[in-house]
Symmetry: C3
Subunit: 159 residues, 3 copies
């Protein structure tokens, strides 16, 4: 397995940790000195939404900042079109992301009505943007030093 | 071309066979002893929907279980964020998938009205989940031994 | 970095140039003798929409044929499931594409109402199809010789 694949798959693990709301798996992808920077980018103008420092805060955010899945609900953070640069023990990824929520329709108590066949529910794209990720190789493992999330959409914050 | 790319592209051929409803091309991706396992996964709880045994049944299912495209309609089974492990002549892929239906708008008999420009129709995400795929290399070719489809959405079945 | 990755990332640069409406970056991906062929494919029947010849016309089209983003709007041309063949200094890519528009909701003058939290806006898939791309390696750089866009949806044209 090449460095290119190792680096690319860090994001594949990242999106699975996000969708499972698995703070421990998320933390394990980050270096002790890591930060996650969350931006809103409006036509090239960048507005800072927030910063998370260290793997504990980053893992906690998965549990506390991300909405839990509703019953019969799930999400897919998906990434596309990676641009990857590797220079020795450092690497960067520039990726597009699109997030989908899925929500199953509960089976009616009397069963599905006649004529209803196939998958029942909705798939809704809710977020998109770019991930800009910096990684370092430590003891043979690629870990995230800095992960920047550039959202297309503005965020309403509490308070 | 590396094993990694060969393995990854098996899914790229799989999704094209699905979207073309091409049972023969689908069958050709599977080993004689292959099975396709179709699940509904609700918050980590797995419910078995069905199993297909052997390339003939798998190819037939593309023609008989998948709805034909309507006029001016097509679909895209897309995959993202592959996790690939290769060990000698065996390999596994864990991938996300999202399926989109597309449906063109027919051109009105009198032509498009003034002011209507660009692509005309809809793109609708209808399914999502995970593919978990096991492959074996036989005579230099990577083929699917077991393909598990973990749907996010529940399925209404006939009867 | 392998040829496979170089070739694959040409599309990653292509989609970014399209989404930034950056004609200069788009032109730079194409050979002097390049052409872009735009088709509508309806159930396997191909209808020619248009052809662009040369990097200048291709770059200009990004500025003149693609709608500018509205305020708080952006797009993501995403690609999936690349099939890549490389033969010496020539290569082909067959990729699926899905285009999403994103549109942020403006913050109300009095701030977000109570209870409104998280990202505010919409993500809408608007186009899908296949890219069929031919590349050549010139002086060590992979550039596009021919780029075919096979749209799923029909197009309303001016006039």
């Amino acid at each position: 397995m090449s460095d290119y694949q190792h680096v690319s798959e860090v994001l594949a693990h990242y999106v699975r940790a996000a969708d499972r709301r698995d703070g421990r798996a998320m933390s394990a992808l980050f270096l002790p000195e890591a930060e996650v920077v969350i931006n809103y980018v409006n036509a090239g103008m960048t507005e800072r939404i927030g910063v998370l420092n260290g793997p504990d805060a980053i893992g906690d955010a998965v549990a506390t900042m991300m909405k839990p899945h509703p019953p019969m609900g799930w999400s897919h953070h998906t990434t596309q079109d990676h641009l990857i640069y590797i220079d020795g023990d450092t690497a960067t990824i520039d990726a597009q992301f699109v997030v989908f929520n899925t929500l199953g329709t509960p089976r009616p108590a009397g069963g599905w009505p006649p004529g209803i066949l196939g998958l029942q529910g909705t798939v809704t794209p809710i977020e998109a943007g770019y991930y800009r990720t910096e990684l370092r190789r430590v003891d043979g493992q690629w870990l995230i030093r800095r992960h920047q999330i550039d959202h297309d959409l503005p965020m309403a914050l509490p308070g």
